[in-house]
Amino acid sequence: MSIAWYLVVSAIVFALGAVGVVTRRNPLVMLLCLELMLNGANLALIAFSRMWGNGDGQIFAIVVMTVAACEVCIGLGMIVAIYRQRLPIDADELRELHG
């Protein structure tokens, strides 16, 4: 398959992740949708890496995975902390930090 097909798949996954981040209110699912967006970017990076026969894109993809793992770690830690405070697990109701 030519590289363009992979890019189309990555664009679809990225857009689906964006839709999920906007529509869902549960922070857990919002984190999952952020993962989807990162994965779309990863697929594009690796497709371009294959296109040029150069490993740089794969290194970028590995760094993106590291960042995603850190994000999951902190995000889930925050969700557990919110749950322990008996606050609602809902992005619309958590308005403590509203300006």
């Binding site: 097909w5 906007v22 857990l28 999952l32 040029w52 995603a68 902190i74 557990v80 902390a81 109701e93």
Partner: protein, 229 residues
């Protein structure tokens, strides 16, 4: 043959992504994401990124998703009931959803224009020439050499980021309430493992106070833990 595998894996990727976004229960969202990640690893293999595909399956679909499953099992029930309650205000939800689909559709159109309208000739090709071998493009040896030579600084920054994230997660997830007053005996172990700093031992045995006043505080803080005693 590779076209067949591509289409099967691409359908898995997109179906998994749709499942994550649409399914109501967060637990099934996580399972859909696992399906998405494994199919994505197949696409990576087709793009000759063997090491990244292995990392994807082992780290992402293995470790990160296990973390998600644990957290969903810990808080999931409450999250589901809140989702049910919010279904009442349906007009606002429907408006948000239409808006989100519009935003996503325009984002997809823009991305497709940007990716496919670039006029790059190479996009329609099958990629650079590739011969299998022990140190070609995408193997572990190749990635390891790149990480330790050209991308050494990125590698070190990534490791530092992981350290900071681990410390941050411990700080976020430790038990609040800090140091307990009635604690009297001091053992030499406390030099290496000070009290109230969220060590794993504190998380395991709880370090709840044993006096009456302390039990009252503990009951305020964690009613179910005291009832269980």
């Amino acid at each position: 043959m590779s076209a067949v595998i591509f289409f099967i894996a691409a359908i898995g990727v997109i179906a998994g992504a749709i499942g994550v976004v649409m399914v109501r229960d967060p637990f099934y969202s996580v399972l859909a994401l696992v399906c998405h990640l494994v199919s994505l690893a197949v696409l990576f293999l087709l793009l000759r990124a063997e090491f990244v595909a292995a990392v994807q399956v082992v780290v992402y679909a293995g470790a990160v998703m296990v973390l998600y499953v644990f957290v969903v099992a810990y808080v999931g029930e409450e999250a589901a009931t809140i989702g049910d309650r919010l279904r009442g205000a349906s007009s606002a939800v429907a408006r948000t959803r239409t808006l989100a689909v519009l935003v996503g559709g325009s984002l997809l159109a823009e991305l497709l224009v940007a990716l496919l309208g670039t006029g790059l000739k190479a996009i329609d090709s099958y990629g650079a020439p590739y011969q299998p071998g022990p140190k070609t493009f995408g193997t572990t040896a190749y990635i390891g050499e790149l990480l330790l030579t050209r991308f050494l600084i990125a590698f070190e920054i990534a490791s530092f980021l992981l350290l900071v994230a681990a410390v941050g997660a411990v700080v976020l997830a430790r038990r609040r309430g800090g140091i307990d007053e009635p604690e009297t005996h001091i053992s030499p172990l406390h030099i290496f493992r000070p009290l109230g700093t969220g060590t794993m031992a504190e998380g395991v045995d709880g370090r709840l106070p044993t006096t009456e006043a302390g039990a009252g505080i503990a009951a305020e803080r964690e009613p179910e833990a005291v009832e269980a005693r």
